[in-house]
Protein backbone atom coordinates (compact mmCIF):
# COMPACT_ATOMS: atom_id res chain seq x y z
CA UNK A 1 0.00 0.00 0.00
CA UNK A 2 2.86 2.37 0.64
CA UNK A 3 3.59 2.25 -3.05
CA UNK A 4 0.68 4.52 -3.78
CA UNK A 5 1.84 7.95 -4.89
CA UNK A 6 1.25 10.87 -2.57
CA UNK A 7 -1.78 11.85 -4.53
CA UNK A 8 -4.00 14.78 -3.72
CA UNK A 9 -6.37 12.68 -1.59
CA UNK A 10 -3.58 11.42 0.65
CA UNK A 11 -2.31 14.93 0.93
CA UNK A 12 -5.73 16.21 1.90
CA UNK A 13 -6.26 13.52 4.51
CA UNK A 14 -2.84 14.15 5.93
CA UNK A 15 -3.57 17.86 6.18
CA UNK A 16 -6.88 17.20 7.78
CA UNK A 17 -5.23 14.92 10.31
CA UNK A 18 -2.62 17.49 11.11
CA UNK A 19 -5.17 20.24 11.62
CA UNK A 20 -7.26 17.93 13.77
CA UNK A 21 -4.23 17.30 15.92
CA UNK A 22 -3.60 20.97 16.41
CA UNK A 23 -7.27 21.47 17.18
CA UNK A 24 -6.98 18.74 19.76
CA UNK A 25 -4.09 20.49 21.42
CA UNK A 26 -6.13 23.64 21.60
CA UNK A 27 -9.05 21.72 23.04
CA UNK A 28 -6.84 20.14 25.65
CA UNK A 29 -5.64 23.54 26.67
CA UNK A 30 -9.24 24.71 26.88
CA UNK A 31 -10.24 21.78 29.09
CA UNK A 32 -7.23 22.39 31.28
CA UNK A 33 -8.30 25.99 31.69
CA UNK A 34 -11.84 24.92 32.52
CA UNK A 35 -10.63 22.44 35.10
CA UNK A 36 -8.57 25.15 36.70
CA UNK A 37 -11.57 27.46 36.74
CA UNK A 38 -13.66 24.74 38.28
CA UNK A 39 -11.04 24.17 40.96
CA UNK A 40 -10.91 27.88 41.60
CA UNK A 41 -14.65 27.91 42.10
CA UNK A 42 -14.48 24.87 44.34
CA UNK A 43 -11.86 26.57 46.47
CA UNK A 44 -13.99 29.65 46.92
CA UNK A 45 -17.00 27.66 48.08
CA UNK A 46 -15.43 24.83 50.01
CA UNK A 47 -17.11 25.42 53.35
CA UNK A 48 -19.64 22.60 53.77
CA UNK A 49 -23.22 23.77 53.80
CA UNK A 50 -22.20 27.22 52.71
CA UNK A 51 -24.38 27.01 49.67
CA UNK A 52 -27.37 25.96 51.73
CA UNK A 53 -26.97 28.88 54.09
CA UNK A 54 -26.38 31.30 51.25
CA UNK A 55 -29.57 30.07 49.62
CA UNK A 56 -31.52 30.32 52.87
CA UNK A 57 -30.16 33.83 53.40
CA UNK A 58 -31.26 34.85 49.93
CA UNK A 59 -34.68 33.39 50.53
CA UNK A 60 -35.01 35.42 53.71
CA UNK A 61 -33.99 38.61 51.99
CA UNK A 62 -36.58 37.81 49.32
CA UNK A 63 -39.17 37.50 52.08
CA UNK A 64 -37.98 40.82 53.46
CA UNK A 65 -38.35 42.38 50.04
CA UNK A 66 -41.88 41.04 49.85
CA UNK A 67 -42.87 42.61 53.16
CA UNK A 68 -41.27 45.92 52.30
CA UNK A 69 -43.05 46.11 48.93
CA UNK A 70 -46.44 44.62 49.65
CA UNK A 71 -47.71 47.81 51.28
CA UNK A 72 -46.55 50.04 48.49
CA UNK A 73 -48.05 51.07 45.19
CA UNK A 74 -48.81 49.96 42.60
CA UNK A 75 -51.55 47.67 43.86
CA UNK A 76 -52.05 45.18 41.08
CA UNK A 77 -55.66 44.41 41.88
CA UNK A 78 -56.61 42.95 38.53
CA UNK A 79 -53.60 40.70 38.37
CA UNK A 80 -54.31 39.63 41.97
CA UNK A 81 -57.82 38.58 40.95
CA UNK A 82 -56.42 36.67 37.98
CA UNK A 83 -54.02 34.86 40.25
CA UNK A 84 -56.73 34.12 42.82
CA UNK A 85 -58.74 32.63 40.00
CA UNK A 86 -55.69 30.56 39.06
CA UNK A 87 -55.22 29.34 42.63
CA UNK A 88 -58.90 28.87 43.33
CA UNK A 89 -61.15 28.06 40.43
CA UNK A 90 -58.56 26.21 38.42
CA UNK A 91 -57.57 24.00 41.34
CA UNK A 92 -61.08 23.37 42.59
CA UNK A 93 -61.57 20.12 40.75
CA UNK A 94 -58.35 18.65 42.07
CA UNK A 95 -58.80 19.59 45.73
CA UNK A 96 -62.49 18.70 45.56
CA UNK A 97 -61.88 15.18 44.35
CA UNK A 98 -59.08 14.71 46.86
CA UNK A 99 -61.27 15.92 49.74
CA UNK A 100 -64.32 13.88 48.81
CA UNK A 101 -62.49 10.62 48.30
CA UNK A 102 -60.38 11.05 51.41
CA UNK A 103 -63.58 11.58 53.39
CA UNK A 104 -65.08 8.35 52.11
CA UNK A 105 -61.91 6.34 52.64
CA UNK A 106 -61.37 7.76 56.10
CA UNK A 107 -64.88 6.79 57.12
CA UNK A 108 -64.49 3.28 55.78
CA UNK A 109 -61.14 2.76 57.49
CA UNK A 110 -62.14 4.21 60.84
CA UNK A 111 -65.38 2.29 61.02
CA UNK A 112 -63.59 -1.01 61.55
CA UNK A 113 -61.20 0.37 64.14
CA UNK A 114 -63.94 2.09 66.10
CA UNK A 115 -66.17 -0.98 65.93
CA UNK A 116 -63.53 -3.00 67.74
CA UNK A 117 -63.84 -0.70 70.73
CA UNK A 118 -67.58 -0.56 70.33
CA UNK A 119 -67.29 3.12 69.64
CA UNK A 120 -68.91 3.29 66.23
CA UNK A 121 -71.06 6.16 67.29
CA UNK A 122 -67.97 8.31 67.53
CA UNK A 123 -67.40 8.03 63.81
CA UNK A 124 -68.72 11.50 62.91
CA UNK A 125 -66.77 13.24 65.60
CA UNK A 126 -63.62 11.40 64.75
CA UNK A 127 -64.07 12.26 61.10
CA UNK A 128 -64.64 15.92 61.87
CA UNK A 129 -61.63 16.06 64.16
CA UNK A 130 -59.20 14.48 61.77
CA UNK A 131 -60.47 16.25 58.69
CA UNK A 132 -60.79 19.75 60.07
CA UNK A 133 -57.80 19.71 62.35
CA UNK A 134 -55.24 18.03 60.22
CA UNK A 135 -56.07 16.20 57.04
CA UNK A 136 -58.02 18.98 55.38
CA UNK A 137 -55.51 21.79 55.86
CA UNK A 138 -52.35 19.80 55.26
CA UNK A 139 -53.60 17.71 52.40
CA UNK A 140 -55.08 20.70 50.61
CA UNK A 141 -51.88 22.64 51.06
CA UNK A 142 -49.73 19.80 49.81
CA UNK A 143 -51.91 19.22 46.79
CA UNK A 144 -51.90 22.92 46.01
CA UNK A 145 -48.16 23.07 46.58
CA UNK A 146 -47.75 20.43 43.93
CA UNK A 147 -50.00 22.14 41.46
CA UNK A 148 -49.13 25.78 42.08
CA UNK A 149 -45.53 25.43 43.14
CA UNK A 150 -44.59 23.73 39.91
CA UNK A 151 -46.72 26.13 37.92
CA UNK A 152 -45.37 29.32 39.44
CA UNK A 153 -41.78 28.12 39.57
CA UNK A 154 -41.85 27.17 35.91
CA UNK A 155 -43.74 30.26 34.79
CA UNK A 156 -41.54 32.78 36.54
CA UNK A 157 -38.46 30.75 35.69
CA UNK A 158 -39.16 30.81 31.99
CA UNK A 159 -40.06 34.49 32.15
CA UNK A 160 -36.70 35.03 33.74
CA UNK A 161 -34.61 33.11 31.24
CA UNK A 162 -36.38 34.69 28.28
CA UNK A 163 -35.70 38.10 29.87
CA UNK A 164 -39.38 38.98 30.19
CA UNK A 165 -38.82 39.96 33.81
CA UNK A 166 -35.95 42.20 32.80
CA UNK A 167 -38.13 43.71 30.11
CA UNK A 168 -40.73 44.64 32.74
CA UNK A 169 -38.02 46.03 34.97
CA UNK A 170 -36.56 48.20 32.20
CA UNK A 171 -39.98 49.54 31.31
CA UNK A 172 -40.36 50.68 34.93
CA UNK A 173 -43.26 48.28 35.41
CA UNK A 174 -42.15 46.85 38.76
CA UNK A 175 -42.17 43.13 38.03
CA UNK A 176 -41.86 42.29 41.72
CA UNK A 177 -45.27 43.81 42.38
CA UNK A 178 -46.81 42.47 39.25
CA UNK A 179 -45.50 38.93 39.47
CA UNK A 180 -44.48 38.10 43.02
CA UNK A 181 -46.69 40.13 45.32
CA UNK A 182 -49.86 39.16 43.46
CA UNK A 183 -49.04 35.46 43.45
CA UNK A 184 -48.08 35.31 47.10
CA UNK A 185 -51.14 37.26 48.19
CA UNK A 186 -53.38 35.10 46.04
CA UNK A 187 -52.01 32.02 47.82
CA UNK A 188 -52.40 33.58 51.25
CA UNK A 189 -56.03 34.46 50.55
CA UNK A 190 -57.09 31.38 48.66
CA UNK A 191 -55.51 28.58 50.69
CA UNK A 192 -57.93 28.87 53.65
CA UNK A 193 -60.90 29.13 51.30
CA UNK A 194 -59.81 26.05 49.41
CA UNK A 195 -59.25 24.29 52.71
CA UNK A 196 -62.78 25.02 53.88
CA UNK A 197 -64.14 23.62 50.66
CA UNK A 198 -62.02 20.52 50.98
CA UNK A 199 -63.10 20.07 54.59
CA UNK A 200 -66.69 20.37 53.60
CA UNK A 201 -66.38 17.87 50.77
CA UNK A 202 -64.44 15.43 52.94
CA UNK A 203 -67.16 15.52 55.58
CA UNK A 204 -69.76 15.13 52.88
CA UNK A 205 -67.89 12.09 51.62
CA UNK A 206 -67.69 10.72 55.16
CA UNK A 207 -71.39 11.25 55.64
CA UNK A 208 -72.15 9.57 52.34
CA UNK A 209 -70.26 6.53 53.50
CA UNK A 210 -72.03 6.52 56.87
CA UNK A 211 -75.39 6.91 55.22
CA UNK A 212 -74.75 4.11 52.76
CA UNK A 213 -73.55 1.65 55.38
CA UNK A 214 -76.02 2.33 58.19
CA UNK A 215 -78.33 5.06 56.98
CA UNK A 216 -77.16 7.71 59.39
CA UNK A 217 -79.32 10.78 59.81
CA UNK A 218 -77.78 14.07 58.66
CA UNK A 219 -78.72 15.93 61.79
CA UNK A 220 -77.25 13.28 64.03
CA UNK A 221 -74.11 13.29 61.95
CA UNK A 222 -73.68 17.03 62.15
CA UNK A 223 -74.52 17.20 65.83
CA UNK A 224 -71.99 14.52 66.82
CA UNK A 225 -69.41 15.75 64.36
CA UNK A 226 -69.17 19.24 65.75
CA UNK A 227 -69.66 18.23 69.32
CA UNK A 228 -66.00 17.78 69.98
CA UNK A 229 -64.76 20.74 67.96
CA UNK A 230 -64.00 24.09 69.47
CA UNK A 231 -64.37 27.24 67.49
CA UNK A 232 -60.78 28.28 68.20
CA UNK A 233 -59.51 25.01 66.75
CA UNK A 234 -61.45 25.39 63.57
CA UNK A 235 -60.21 28.93 63.11
CA UNK A 236 -56.57 28.21 63.92
CA UNK A 237 -56.43 25.07 61.85
CA UNK A 238 -58.02 26.66 58.84
CA UNK A 239 -56.12 29.90 59.03
CA UNK A 240 -52.79 28.20 59.38
CA UNK A 241 -53.11 27.35 55.70
CA UNK A 242 -52.57 31.04 55.00
CA UNK A 243 -49.08 30.47 56.27
CA UNK A 244 -48.75 27.40 54.08
CA UNK A 245 -49.98 29.47 51.17
CA UNK A 246 -47.40 32.09 51.92
CA UNK A 247 -44.71 29.42 51.97
CA UNK A 248 -45.79 27.96 48.65
CA UNK A 249 -46.06 31.38 47.03
CA UNK A 250 -42.84 32.86 48.28
CA UNK A 251 -40.71 29.75 47.79
CA UNK A 252 -41.93 29.13 44.25
CA UNK A 253 -41.61 32.77 43.28
CA UNK A 254 -38.16 32.97 44.82
CA UNK A 255 -36.93 29.91 42.95
CA UNK A 256 -38.54 30.98 39.69
CA UNK A 257 -37.43 34.60 39.96
CA UNK A 258 -33.82 33.60 40.49
CA UNK A 259 -33.43 31.02 37.75
CA UNK A 260 -30.29 31.49 35.72
CA UNK A 261 -29.39 29.58 32.62
CA UNK A 262 -31.75 27.66 30.41
CA UNK A 263 -34.71 25.33 30.26
CA UNK A 264 -33.08 22.71 32.43
CA UNK A 265 -32.84 25.17 35.30
CA UNK A 266 -36.48 26.12 34.79
CA UNK A 267 -37.49 22.50 35.24
CA UNK A 268 -35.28 22.25 38.28
CA UNK A 269 -36.86 25.36 39.79
CA UNK A 270 -40.32 23.89 39.29
CA UNK A 271 -39.33 20.63 40.91
CA UNK A 272 -37.55 22.32 43.80
CA UNK A 273 -40.51 24.61 44.40
CA UNK A 274 -42.70 21.59 45.05
CA UNK A 275 -40.15 19.77 47.19
CA UNK A 276 -39.06 22.73 49.29
CA UNK A 277 -42.54 24.13 49.87
CA UNK A 278 -43.94 20.70 50.77
CA UNK A 279 -41.16 20.14 53.29
CA UNK A 280 -41.58 23.61 54.76
CA UNK A 281 -45.34 23.09 55.02
CA UNK A 282 -44.86 19.91 57.04
CA UNK A 283 -42.21 21.43 59.28
CA UNK A 284 -44.17 24.58 59.96
CA UNK A 285 -47.27 22.49 60.63
CA UNK A 286 -45.46 20.80 63.50
CA UNK A 287 -44.49 24.17 64.91
CA UNK A 288 -47.93 25.68 64.51
CA UNK A 289 -49.72 22.72 66.10
CA UNK A 290 -47.27 22.77 69.01
CA UNK A 291 -47.85 26.49 69.50
CA UNK A 292 -51.61 26.24 69.25
CA UNK A 293 -51.68 23.47 71.84
CA UNK A 294 -49.60 25.65 74.14
CA UNK A 295 -51.95 28.57 73.58
CA UNK A 296 -55.35 26.92 73.44
CA UNK A 297 -54.76 23.58 75.14
CA UNK A 298 -55.38 20.31 73.34
CA UNK A 299 -58.60 18.70 72.30
CA UNK A 300 -59.14 16.87 75.59
CA UNK A 301 -60.06 20.22 77.13
CA UNK A 302 -63.08 20.31 74.88
CA UNK A 303 -66.57 19.37 75.93
Amino acid sequence: METLPADSLTQRLRDARRSRQSEKILQDKETERKVEERQEEARTSSVPGEEFFAEAGNLFSFVGRFFSRVWRRPYEVRELLTQMDEVGTKSLMLTGVVGFSIGIVLAMQSRGTLARFGAESFLPSMLALSVIKEIGPVLTSLVLAGRLGAGMGAELGSMKVTEQIDALEVAALKPFHYLVVTRVLACVIMFPIMTMLTDFLALAGGYLEAWLSDGMNVRVFIATAFDSLRFADVIVDTMKTSIFGFIVGIVSCYLGYNVRGGTREVGRAAMQSVVVSSLLILISDVVIVRLSIMLFGDISDAA
Binding site: T44, M159, T162, E163, Q164, D166, V170, A171, A172
Partner: protein, 329 residues
Protein backbone atom coordinates in the same frame (compact mmCIF):
# COMPACT_ATOMS: atom_id res chain seq x y z
CA UNK B 1 -5.06 51.25 17.19
CA UNK B 2 -4.76 53.53 20.10
CA UNK B 3 -7.47 53.70 22.66
CA UNK B 4 -9.54 56.70 21.91
CA UNK B 5 -10.88 58.12 25.09
CA UNK B 6 -12.96 61.18 25.61
CA UNK B 7 -12.96 60.99 29.32
CA UNK B 8 -10.36 63.65 29.76
CA UNK B 9 -12.56 66.08 27.85
CA UNK B 10 -15.62 64.89 29.61
CA UNK B 11 -14.11 65.69 32.96
CA UNK B 12 -12.84 69.09 31.99
CA UNK B 13 -15.85 70.56 30.32
CA UNK B 14 -18.45 70.92 33.03
CA UNK B 15 -16.45 73.62 34.73
CA UNK B 16 -16.71 75.87 31.73
CA UNK B 17 -20.20 74.75 30.81
CA UNK B 18 -21.62 75.55 34.20
CA UNK B 19 -21.03 79.19 34.97
CA UNK B 20 -22.54 78.83 38.43
CA UNK B 21 -20.14 76.11 39.42
CA UNK B 22 -16.79 76.86 40.94
CA UNK B 23 -14.01 76.55 38.45
CA UNK B 24 -12.08 74.02 40.45
CA UNK B 25 -14.09 70.80 40.43
CA UNK B 26 -13.42 69.97 44.02
CA UNK B 27 -15.18 66.71 44.65
CA UNK B 28 -17.35 68.04 47.42
CA UNK B 29 -18.33 71.22 45.65
CA UNK B 30 -20.01 69.40 42.84
CA UNK B 31 -22.33 67.65 45.12
CA UNK B 32 -25.83 68.81 44.53
CA UNK B 33 -24.96 71.81 42.45
CA UNK B 34 -27.15 72.64 39.52
CA UNK B 35 -25.30 70.61 36.99
CA UNK B 36 -25.23 71.74 33.39
CA UNK B 37 -25.81 68.23 32.20
CA UNK B 38 -29.00 67.77 34.15
CA UNK B 39 -31.60 66.63 31.71
CA UNK B 40 -34.07 69.32 30.79
CA UNK B 41 -37.22 67.34 31.50
CA UNK B 42 -35.86 65.56 34.52
CA UNK B 43 -35.98 66.59 38.12
CA UNK B 44 -36.75 70.24 38.87
CA UNK B 45 -33.84 72.48 38.03
CA UNK B 46 -31.68 72.21 41.02
CA UNK B 47 -31.60 75.59 42.58
CA UNK B 48 -32.93 73.80 45.64
CA UNK B 49 -31.86 76.24 48.28
CA UNK B 50 -30.49 74.96 51.50
CA UNK B 51 -30.15 71.45 50.26
CA UNK B 52 -26.39 71.59 50.17
CA UNK B 53 -25.88 71.32 53.86
CA UNK B 54 -28.11 68.34 54.53
CA UNK B 55 -27.89 64.67 53.83
CA UNK B 56 -26.82 65.35 50.28
CA UNK B 57 -23.23 65.25 51.37
CA UNK B 58 -23.74 61.53 51.69
CA UNK B 59 -24.96 61.07 48.18
CA UNK B 60 -23.04 57.82 48.01
CA UNK B 61 -25.86 56.28 49.98
CA UNK B 62 -28.62 56.09 47.40
CA UNK B 63 -31.48 56.10 49.87
CA UNK B 64 -30.29 59.30 51.47
CA UNK B 65 -30.77 61.21 48.27
CA UNK B 66 -33.97 63.14 48.23
CA UNK B 67 -35.69 62.38 44.91
CA UNK B 68 -36.88 65.96 44.66
CA UNK B 69 -33.44 67.36 45.19
CA UNK B 70 -32.03 67.64 41.71
CA UNK B 71 -29.90 65.31 39.71
CA UNK B 72 -28.07 62.42 41.27
CA UNK B 73 -24.43 63.10 40.62
CA UNK B 74 -22.48 61.80 43.56
CA UNK B 75 -19.15 63.49 43.99
CA UNK B 76 -17.92 63.46 40.43
CA UNK B 77 -18.23 66.10 37.75
CA UNK B 78 -20.97 65.20 35.28
CA UNK B 79 -20.16 64.78 31.62
CA UNK B 80 -20.98 67.61 29.21
CA UNK B 81 -24.49 68.06 27.93
CA UNK B 82 -24.04 66.28 24.64
CA UNK B 83 -22.78 63.06 26.23
CA UNK B 84 -25.85 60.95 27.00
CA UNK B 85 -24.07 57.84 28.24
CA UNK B 86 -20.74 57.91 30.02
CA UNK B 87 -19.29 54.79 31.62
CA UNK B 88 -16.28 55.48 33.78
CA UNK B 89 -14.00 52.67 34.85
CA UNK B 90 -16.82 50.17 35.30
CA UNK B 91 -16.04 46.85 36.96
CA UNK B 92 -18.44 43.94 37.24
CA UNK B 93 -17.93 40.34 38.27
CA UNK B 94 -20.18 37.42 39.12
CA UNK B 95 -18.55 35.48 41.92
CA UNK B 96 -15.03 34.59 40.84
CA UNK B 97 -15.76 35.48 37.21
CA UNK B 98 -14.66 39.01 36.42
CA UNK B 99 -16.56 40.17 33.35
CA UNK B 100 -15.94 43.91 33.06
CA UNK B 101 -12.57 45.22 34.14
CA UNK B 102 -12.53 48.95 33.79
CA UNK B 103 -14.79 49.85 30.89
CA UNK B 104 -14.67 53.45 29.66
CA UNK B 105 -17.14 54.48 27.04
CA UNK B 106 -19.08 57.55 25.98
CA UNK B 107 -21.99 58.04 23.62
CA UNK B 108 -22.85 61.44 22.21
CA UNK B 109 -26.38 62.70 21.88
CA UNK B 110 -28.01 61.68 18.63
CA UNK B 111 -25.37 59.18 17.60
CA UNK B 112 -25.38 55.42 17.26
CA UNK B 113 -22.69 53.52 19.06
CA UNK B 114 -21.97 49.90 18.32
CA UNK B 115 -20.41 47.47 20.77
CA UNK B 116 -18.64 44.52 19.25
CA UNK B 117 -16.72 41.65 20.76
CA UNK B 118 -16.57 37.90 20.99
CA UNK B 119 -19.36 35.81 22.43
CA UNK B 120 -19.51 35.86 26.20
CA UNK B 121 -17.18 38.81 26.61
CA UNK B 122 -19.83 40.74 28.49
CA UNK B 123 -21.47 42.90 25.87
CA UNK B 124 -24.93 42.27 27.27
CA UNK B 125 -23.61 42.78 30.78
CA UNK B 126 -22.22 46.13 29.67
CA UNK B 127 -25.47 47.39 28.17
CA UNK B 128 -27.50 46.18 31.13
CA UNK B 129 -25.55 48.63 33.27
CA UNK B 130 -26.85 51.49 31.16
CA UNK B 131 -30.47 50.69 32.08
CA UNK B 132 -29.72 49.82 35.69
CA UNK B 133 -30.49 46.11 35.38
CA UNK B 134 -27.03 45.52 36.81
CA UNK B 135 -25.10 47.71 39.17
CA UNK B 136 -21.34 48.05 38.81
CA UNK B 137 -19.05 46.68 41.49
CA UNK B 138 -17.00 49.78 40.96
CA UNK B 139 -17.11 52.74 38.63
CA UNK B 140 -19.64 55.30 37.46
CA UNK B 141 -22.57 54.98 35.09
CA UNK B 142 -23.77 58.33 33.79
CA UNK B 143 -26.97 58.35 31.80
CA UNK B 144 -28.59 61.60 30.67
CA UNK B 145 -26.57 63.55 33.17
CA UNK B 146 -27.17 61.44 36.26
CA UNK B 147 -25.46 58.62 38.09
CA UNK B 148 -27.52 55.49 37.56
CA UNK B 149 -25.40 53.54 39.98
CA UNK B 150 -26.38 55.79 42.89
CA UNK B 151 -30.10 55.91 42.25
CA UNK B 152 -32.78 54.24 44.30
CA UNK B 153 -35.62 52.27 42.78
CA UNK B 154 -37.96 55.21 42.27
CA UNK B 155 -35.35 57.37 40.64
CA UNK B 156 -34.29 54.51 38.43
CA UNK B 157 -37.84 53.90 37.27
CA UNK B 158 -38.20 57.59 36.55
CA UNK B 159 -35.13 57.48 34.36
CA UNK B 160 -36.14 54.24 32.71
CA UNK B 161 -39.19 55.81 31.14
CA UNK B 162 -36.69 57.55 28.85
CA UNK B 163 -34.70 54.42 28.06
CA UNK B 164 -35.54 51.47 25.89
CA UNK B 165 -33.92 48.06 25.74
CA UNK B 166 -34.35 45.52 23.01
CA UNK B 167 -33.50 42.12 24.45
CA UNK B 168 -31.60 39.47 22.61
CA UNK B 169 -34.67 37.27 22.14
CA UNK B 170 -37.27 40.01 22.00
CA UNK B 171 -38.57 39.20 25.50
CA UNK B 172 -42.21 39.28 24.45
CA UNK B 173 -44.70 38.21 27.11
CA UNK B 174 -45.80 34.86 25.81
CA UNK B 175 -49.15 34.82 27.55
CA UNK B 176 -50.27 37.78 25.46
CA UNK B 177 -50.79 38.44 21.75
CA UNK B 178 -48.58 40.89 19.91
CA UNK B 179 -51.26 43.55 20.27
CA UNK B 180 -51.64 42.93 24.00
CA UNK B 181 -47.89 42.97 24.41
CA UNK B 182 -47.76 46.47 23.05
CA UNK B 183 -50.94 47.53 24.80
CA UNK B 184 -49.59 46.38 28.14
CA UNK B 185 -46.90 49.06 28.25
CA UNK B 186 -49.22 51.81 27.08
CA UNK B 187 -51.93 50.79 29.54
CA UNK B 188 -49.64 50.97 32.48
CA UNK B 189 -47.55 53.97 31.69
CA UNK B 190 -49.93 56.32 29.92
CA UNK B 191 -53.50 57.59 30.07
CA UNK B 192 -54.11 57.64 26.34
CA UNK B 193 -57.53 56.61 25.15
CA UNK B 194 -58.25 53.42 23.28
CA UNK B 195 -58.13 54.84 19.76
CA UNK B 196 -54.83 56.62 20.32
CA UNK B 197 -53.31 53.46 21.68
CA UNK B 198 -54.50 51.39 18.72
CA UNK B 199 -53.07 53.92 16.30
CA UNK B 200 -49.71 53.93 18.04
CA UNK B 201 -49.62 50.14 18.04
CA UNK B 202 -50.40 49.84 14.35
CA UNK B 203 -47.86 52.53 13.51
CA UNK B 204 -45.27 50.71 15.57
CA UNK B 205 -45.96 47.42 13.84
CA UNK B 206 -45.82 49.06 10.43
CA UNK B 207 -42.41 50.50 11.28
CA UNK B 208 -41.10 46.95 11.49
CA UNK B 209 -43.20 45.65 8.58
CA UNK B 210 -45.26 43.28 10.70
CA UNK B 211 -48.80 44.65 10.92
CA UNK B 212 -50.21 41.24 10.05
CA UNK B 213 -48.95 39.64 13.26
CA UNK B 214 -51.19 41.82 15.42
CA UNK B 215 -53.31 38.98 16.81
CA UNK B 216 -50.71 36.25 16.94
CA UNK B 217 -49.06 34.87 20.03
CA UNK B 218 -45.26 35.09 20.33
CA UNK B 219 -45.04 31.30 20.08
CA UNK B 220 -46.42 31.54 16.55
CA UNK B 221 -43.71 33.96 15.42
CA UNK B 222 -40.25 33.21 14.09
CA UNK B 223 -37.19 34.35 16.02
CA UNK B 224 -36.65 37.27 13.68
CA UNK B 225 -40.29 38.33 13.86
CA UNK B 226 -40.20 38.23 17.66
CA UNK B 227 -37.20 40.46 17.64
CA UNK B 228 -38.87 42.95 15.36
CA UNK B 229 -42.03 43.00 17.44
CA UNK B 230 -39.84 43.50 20.49
CA UNK B 231 -38.31 46.45 18.69
CA UNK B 232 -41.73 47.87 17.93
CA UNK B 233 -42.69 47.46 21.57
CA UNK B 234 -39.58 49.33 22.65
CA UNK B 235 -40.13 52.12 20.15
CA UNK B 236 -43.71 52.71 21.14
CA UNK B 237 -42.60 54.35 24.38
CA UNK B 238 -40.53 56.90 22.43
CA UNK B 239 -37.36 56.58 24.49
CA UNK B 240 -34.44 59.01 24.21
CA UNK B 241 -31.86 56.27 24.28
CA UNK B 242 -32.34 52.75 22.98
CA UNK B 243 -30.07 49.82 23.64
CA UNK B 244 -30.26 47.07 21.07
CA UNK B 245 -28.94 43.67 22.07
CA UNK B 246 -28.13 42.02 18.76
CA UNK B 247 -31.03 43.53 16.83
CA UNK B 248 -30.15 41.79 13.58
CA UNK B 249 -28.78 38.41 14.61
CA UNK B 250 -30.79 35.63 13.05
CA UNK B 251 -32.47 37.85 10.49
CA UNK B 252 -32.25 37.38 6.76
CA UNK B 253 -30.13 39.95 4.88
CA UNK B 254 -33.16 41.93 3.80
CA UNK B 255 -34.46 42.22 7.35
CA UNK B 256 -30.97 43.11 8.55
CA UNK B 257 -31.12 46.06 6.23
CA UNK B 258 -34.67 46.96 7.24
CA UNK B 259 -33.82 46.94 10.93
CA UNK B 260 -30.48 48.71 10.51
CA UNK B 261 -32.06 51.37 8.34
CA UNK B 262 -34.76 51.77 10.94
CA UNK B 263 -32.17 52.42 13.64
CA UNK B 264 -30.53 55.03 11.45
CA UNK B 265 -33.89 56.57 10.62
CA UNK B 266 -34.76 56.83 14.29
CA UNK B 267 -31.49 58.57 14.91
CA UNK B 268 -31.97 61.01 12.06
CA UNK B 269 -35.65 61.80 12.49
CA UNK B 270 -36.22 61.53 16.20
CA UNK B 271 -32.69 62.12 17.39
CA UNK B 272 -32.64 58.87 19.35
CA UNK B 273 -29.20 57.93 20.61
CA UNK B 274 -28.49 54.25 20.65
CA UNK B 275 -26.05 51.58 21.64
CA UNK B 276 -26.25 48.41 19.59
CA UNK B 277 -24.54 45.13 20.20
CA UNK B 278 -23.87 43.33 16.99
CA UNK B 279 -21.65 40.78 15.31
CA UNK B 280 -23.08 41.69 11.97
CA UNK B 281 -20.69 43.77 9.90
CA UNK B 282 -23.39 44.77 7.47
CA UNK B 283 -25.48 46.11 10.32
CA UNK B 284 -22.48 47.73 11.96
CA UNK B 285 -21.60 49.40 8.70
CA UNK B 286 -25.05 50.90 8.31
CA UNK B 287 -25.60 51.82 11.94
CA UNK B 288 -22.31 52.72 13.56
CA UNK B 289 -21.14 56.24 14.12
CA UNK B 290 -18.65 54.84 16.52
CA UNK B 291 -17.58 51.29 17.28
CA UNK B 292 -16.38 50.10 20.68
CA UNK B 293 -14.62 46.78 20.77
CA UNK B 294 -14.90 44.88 24.05
CA UNK B 295 -12.02 42.58 24.83
CA UNK B 296 -10.97 41.09 28.17
CA UNK B 297 -13.37 43.28 30.07
CA UNK B 298 -12.17 46.53 28.59
CA UNK B 299 -12.86 48.64 25.53
CA UNK B 300 -9.77 47.68 23.60
CA UNK B 301 -10.46 49.93 20.65
CA UNK B 302 -12.93 52.63 19.74
CA UNK B 303 -13.45 54.76 16.69
CA UNK B 304 -15.13 54.49 13.33
CA UNK B 305 -15.66 50.99 12.00
CA UNK B 306 -12.72 51.38 9.65
CA UNK B 307 -10.40 52.57 12.39
CA UNK B 308 -11.32 49.68 14.61
CA UNK B 309 -11.03 47.24 11.78
CA UNK B 310 -7.54 48.41 10.95
CA UNK B 311 -6.43 48.01 14.57
CA UNK B 312 -3.26 46.04 15.09
CA UNK B 313 -4.50 44.15 18.15
CA UNK B 314 -4.28 40.47 17.14
CA UNK B 315 -7.68 39.53 18.57
CA UNK B 316 -9.34 42.24 16.55
CA UNK B 317 -7.56 41.18 13.41
CA UNK B 318 -8.79 37.67 14.05
CA UNK B 319 -12.33 38.97 14.60
CA UNK B 320 -12.38 40.91 11.35
CA UNK B 321 -10.40 38.36 9.37
CA UNK B 322 -11.86 37.66 5.97
CA UNK B 323 -14.38 40.44 6.19
CA UNK B 324 -12.56 42.77 3.87
CA UNK B 325 -14.99 41.63 1.22
CA UNK B 326 -17.45 44.12 2.71
CA UNK B 327 -17.11 47.53 1.22
CA UNK B 328 -15.46 50.11 3.40
CA UNK B 329 -17.54 52.93 4.61
Amino acid sequence: MSRISRRADARRQPAEAGPGADAGPHPLDDDGLATPASDPTGAPAAGVPGAEGTARGDAREPHLVDPEAGPVTGNSPPPPDDIVVDLRDVYKGFGPKKILRGVDMTVERGTSAVVMGGSGTGKSVLTKHVVGLLRPDKGEVWVLGERLDLMDQEQLDQKRTRLGYLFQGGALFDSMTVYENMRFFLDRLTTLDRGEKDDLIMEGLEDVNLPSTRDQYPAELSGGQKKRVGLARTLIMQPDIILYDEPTTGLDPVSVRVVSDLIVKLRDTRGISSISITHDLLAAEIVADRVHFLLDGQIAAAGTLDEVRRSDIPELQEFFKGTDAYGHA
